[in-house]
Symmetry: C2
Subunit: 395 residues, 2 copies
């Protein structure tokens, strides 16, 4: 059986770009940048006043300040640049204003008294100029956000500053989410004694909405002909199929056979991991469709999706997902045969992860109480208190 790392590399080998598109700035949050972003102006764009006070022409900082200056006017933030007409004059200036022409030093209000249109200065020498010089943070034309970055709220502010009203972002793949299994009924139905309601497709739908993708849900019964017909159609219409159920060893687990009949190239089936071992992954060489066929157990489906699909999506559209790490709070015995996703809760004070006991991979309800999963790689030795391990957050 393939290891979790081999499975992940296989999934990542199928990363694919779906092209780019322009979106309005207001719709760009959470998308992946498809262009490098440069400053279009120096930052700050002008010699910027840093204190409320008066601007004077001093020349050398060692020059003595005159005891009194004639106030010529006010240079407010957002008003065109004024000019200091004479070395005996000053201009009142506000933080954020452009430094007036002919001025070079700000004296803060704290050091000044004003009477009859004159500013009387109680300093003999200036300590600092209090000017934030044009281009001192960054020069025009400097790269400030690289292509491939996931756009955060902070990036939105930066894109606004440099005038990107429209942004080029990676196009998202179209995704179909497909439940299989004759025991499944709709959410608004009351199950008969041998039935249960669908749930995995809703979890997947919600997880994908958080990535900005509006997917569509389908259901196919455990009938080989129906599976062949519908899956073939869906592969024509969608870039990615996410299936849940039908990949174990039962008499009606037709998915692997049907996918093979439809020309989907299997990259692997079954991974040395718990939960989620029967995960099947492949792609259609001509149609380009990627097929993630998850086992039917709710926790198995969700953990496989979090681990494999998310990393595939980020690698496809932008830059690889940087895994989060957490410190293990207590010893867990090693397992040389399997990698394990262990449901944990995070201690609020220490940030450490503690295993959270539940009833096995079918126990959906425990997922609401868990903070996420620690990934314990397959190995002989124990996992020790204080060890750093990869963490999949589900909040």
């Amino acid at each position: 059986m393939i290891t979790i790392n081999e499975a992940l590399q296989s999934v990542l080998s199928q990363r694919q770009s779906y092209g780019t598109e322009k979106v309005k700035l207001s719709g760009a949050t959470g998308r992946f940048l498809a262009e490098d972003i440069f400053t279009d102006l120096d930052a700050p764009p002008f010699d910027r006043v840093m204190m409320d006070g008066v601007a004077i022409r001093l020349g050398d900082l060692d020059n003595p300040i005159k005891p009194s200056y004639i106030i010529q006017g006010i240079q407010a933030a957002g008003t065109p640049q004024m000019e200091l007409l004479d070395a005996d004059h000053c201009l009142e200036v506000m933080t954020g204003a452009i430094l007036p022409i002919g001025a070079d030093t700000i004296i803060p209000y704290e050091e000044i008294e004003t009477t009859d249109g004159n500013a009387h200065i109680q300093l003999e020498k200036a300590a600092k100029r209090f000017v934030h010089y044009r281009g001192s943070d960054s020069k025009k034309g400097q790269k400030i956000i690289p292509k491939g970055k996931l756009i955060t709220a902070a990036d939105i502010g930066i894109l606004a500053t440099v005038g990107k009203a429209d942004v080029s972002v990676a196009k998202l793949p179209s995704v179909a989410i497909i439940s299989t299994g004759d025991e499944l009924v709709e959410v608004d139905q009351t199950p008969l004694p041998h039935q249960i309601r669908k749930s995995n497709v809703y979890t997947l739908w919600s997880a994908i909405v958080k990535e900005g993708i509006l997917s569509k849900m389908y259901h196919i019964n455990d009938d080989k002909d129906a599976l062949v017909k519908t899956l073939s159609d869906l592969m024509d219409a969608y870039d990615v199929l996410l299936l849940s159920g039908g990949v174990s060893k039962g008499k009606f687990d037709h998915i692997p056979d049907v996918l093979s009949d439809l020309g989907v190239h299997k990259l692997f089936h079954r991974v040395a991991q718990r939960p989620g071992k029967p995960f099947w992954f492949g792609h259609h060489p001509e149609k380009g469709t990627k097929v993630f066929a998850y086992p039917g157990n709710p926790v198995s489906t969700y953990v496989n999706h979090l681990f494999y699909f998310q990393q595939w999506l980020h690698a496809s559209l932008g830059t690889p997902l940087q895994p989060e790490v957490k410190t293990l709070g207590e010893k867990i015995p090693g397992n040389p045969n399997l990698s394990r996703f262990v449901s944990v809760s995070i201690d609020a004070k220490t940030g450490r992860a503690y295993p959270f006991s539940h009833n096995g991979s079918g126990d959906l309800f425990s997922l609401s109480k868990t903070d996420g999963f620690l990934l314990l790689p397959q190995r002989d030795g124990d996992f020790l208190e204080g060890e750093q391990l990869e963490f999949l957050c589900i909040r």
Copy 2:
């Protein structure tokens, strides 16, 4: 000056409920539950077959297994419960199926050979029954998600399982985001030499979209009459106003005066923190409007918003936000006068936070490279390597 903890308690004292509403399950992700959620059935809802194989009637586990059973049929998952007609008969059963009436034990396929409609069993005694009994995970009527919880993808699956096609959630407050400052121009304009483009309002808009709130943006010039008129109208129309700029000590920083004239009750102005010291917070006693007036610097605005507004929103709509903690990677000197939000990057291997140097609170571009902010409370002693500190994530 008020401390950061006093300021936070003051903000949280203004938490408020905005009522509840029913939404479709597909629109419930990221909302706060306004009802307790209970199981509507036992889990599992029936005695569930755990292995593919044959079901027999054994009685006591110590009873010997017959060498051969007549195969009476197949009990598949999702088909109505069948009945084992005789102790010499067996039924083939699939994982997830209901246990047939009259059967009590599953023998996995691995232990069986089938010929001519008979199952020949190579075991003398059964080790386990391989039945997941009805209600063994949870009984009908058990509370599984408490009111107030933020709804995650995992919760969506649980809500589907228990048949919540419509969910009662907390209504969201309506929010107006208001920029002030004559130096600001629109994103699609080229600034004159003394102007800059708006950016804070876009960052705030994007941060709030992530909370599920579609806010609206407004701009008001540094003109007292315009501020009075527009802010009064906006307080009638919105539950929350987020302002950016105009709260410092300059000649045109009218916001505190105007809010006071409009009857907004100031809870505090200025907090012993860096950046973001001039933060102003208040509420209108009659209209109920909450006013978060942030300083104009981009980093100041954003960090105040992340810290104060997010905690206010979670406390108002559901359960208080559980702060994340990170381990400090290197020593930072203490400061007895100020709490500090320190921009950090997180080491991918160790998960430790390292201070990220930038040009001060105005340096918007640095926000794209940072992973978040560590909160260093005001104190004399150094912050030591390995210490746990509160972390605000910006990714």
